[in-house]
């Protein structure tokens, strides 16, 4: 159980690292949010699962925390992205199409 927990923690840390790398490498705020949201969600969930293996008494609480993250993380990302788009944040030159701007203005 200790080994499984340790592996889960390392896996979670790896995904958090990828998320951090994404924040640095991605070209604009929207792509950065993408990297930030996804990698941190799974990274954190794996971390919580790892802790649950090491401390089985905490499992229920950790599960509830994971549930909170799953519900709140995408909402905060969505609101950040919408605010960025409405305030005219710079978009990467790679951006192929912007239906939102076509319909609602920048």
């Amino acid at each position: 159980m200790d080994i499984v927990g340790g592996l889960l923690l390392v896996g979670g840390a790896a995904f958090l690292l990828f998320g951090g790398l994404g924040l640095v490498r991605m070209p604009d705020v929207f792509n950065r949010i993408q990297a930030g949201t996804k990698a941190t969600t799974l990274g954190t969930l794996l971390g919580l699962a790892g802790i649950a293996c090491l401390q089985p008494d905490w499992a229920l609480k950790l599960f509830l925390i994971g549930l909170f993250i799953l519900f709140t993380n995408p909402i905060s990302s969505q609101v950040l992205a919408r605010a960025a788009h409405r305030s005219g944040a710079r978009k990467s030159a790679l951006t192929a199409v912007d239906r939102l701007e076509e319909d609602h203005g920048a």
Partner: protein, 165 residues
């Protein structure tokens, strides 16, 4: 949905969460939790609760369980996808904002759809406007509304339609 039923459901959910998080039924802990739950449930009695719009037929419950597994699979795929893009030296991106349409009618169904899209491969819900969702897509395969809808919304909608309508 009556206000009384909304209040009761929200109050019960909050109280349950409070007790589970504290892991204690001591009087002082319980009183604080009950007061807080009453206040929040009163303030948000018009709001939507995750449970209040969920259908409770056996088919909907089975679909909910299948949806959770489908969602976890998509979540893992999303993360491997991000890892692949971030780690590749060329940074293969073709980002853009596409527009998709949902058949879902209920508020909760649409909320879960938007959240699920955000947590799955390369897509991020930026704005909602009635039945239209605006999605930031890291690798735009198609800007066509119908094709993008099938690619992004299709999988989740089947489940959520049974769960929430």
């Amino acid at each position: 949905m009556s206000k009384a039923r909304n209040f009761t459901l929200l109050f019960a959910t909050l109280t349950l969460f409070w007790v589970l998080l504290n892991g204690s039924l001591a009087l002082d802990v319980l009183v604080v939790g009950l007061v807080a739950a009453t206040l929040i449930a009163f303030l948000f009695r018009d709001g939507l609760a995750v449970v209040s719009e969920l259908r409770t037929s056996p088919r909907a419950l089975i679909t909910t369980v299948r949806y959770v597994f489908f969602f976890i699979r998509e979540l893992v795929k999303a993360n491997l996808n991000v890892a692949r893009i971030v780690l590749s030296p060329a940074l293969p991106l073709n980002p853009g904002f596409v527009k998709v349409r949902t058949r879902l009618k209920s508020r909760m169904g649409r909320l879960l759809l938007a959240n699920s899209i955000t947590l799955t491969p390369g897509t991020l819900t930026v704005d909602l406007d009635g039945e239209w969702l605006y999605i930031h897509w890291v690798t735009v395969d198609t800007a066509d509304v119908e094709a993008a809808t099938a690619a992004i919304v299709g999988g989740f909608e089947e489940y959520l339609e049974v769960m929430y309508g």
